[in-house]
Symmetry: C2
Amino acid sequence: MPTPDRTSLAEIVDAGRAVLEDGGLSRLTMQSVAERVGVRAPSLYKRVRDRDALIDAVVAATIDDLTDRLEASDRSLEGLASAYRAFAHERPEGFRLIFATRQPQTALDRASVAILDTARGLVGEDRSLEAARLVTAWATGFVQMELAGAFQLGGDLDDAFAFGVAALRRGLESV
Amino acid sequence: MPTPDRTSLAEIVDAGRAVLEDGGLSRLTMQSVAERVGVRAPSLYKRVRDRDALIDAVVAATIDDLTDRLEASDRSLEGLASAYRAFAHERPEGFRLIFATRQPQTALDRASVAILDTARGLVGEDRSLEAARLVTAWATGFVQMELAGAFQLGGDLDDAFAFGVAALRRGLESV
DNA sequence: ACCTGAACACCGTTCAAGT
DNA sequence: ACCTGAACACCGTTCAAGT
């Protein structure tokens, strides 16, 4: 006798993201997600292989949202960079998790395209991949260090970020 | 009746680092560290407040080693950058953990000095802090993405790294 | 077909009892 | 003064039994 579904994969992933932002990865337990969704922990295993798979799904959803933001920016170097940083500030735990997991992140493909387009406009086709990697690495590292509290020598972080984009633009335009 | 010490804080931290590189953070359990040190898990609590404090100590020791490497480099922009990257390749889990923990990282002070010196030589006193942050953010992000397998569009990563340092030098020299 | 309680393995942590 | 086994709380996961 079929029972009506009491939840769904999408609802579980959303609950996982909410719990993650609330309390960090260590609070992202099967029990806390189940409770938020109104079900018992063992029921989650009907939709999700295990906790790691749930975490992967949370990462994938986060990357999707991040990509939407990049695509919605003005696509300039400055626009991409600040959209990236703003997203990380909004969802610090989710952002952090993207680079804390080791897996085939084909979900990053869409984001790569947006950044590559802008990079191509700055340095041309030949060096666009390297230029995109420069910009992405810098933005990723900046935000991660910011979130980790690793910038401890004072100074204004907004200034440092603006200085960084400007220097990158100069460095790339002189290729 | 005093018992002779069967271990020490330093030995525990070293064991923690070894276990970490072997199996990642999730394998860094009190039990695995205790076993490696030849003691039962509860005994660790005589030297270490809890697992988080052990992790903090592992991070601090890792930052110390990293700083030694930076100081032992030729102190050029290129030398610092490749020393940084080489260290991350040697101790990927330890490196990763540095920016995965949120805490007062005064241990980063020594490393900051080395990078600031080099940055000052490139852009002068006024913008040295921002320049140091640009370089550190880029190197950190590059290596983290590399370790996470986030560079998935082919191309040579050594090339991309060299391209990055060169572009940063140009961007900074034209301040 | 989905949901649950019970059960098991494992981990962090405390503590009384050993030496 | 350090070390240990026993115990407790908590978590991930499986599974037989419910609907």
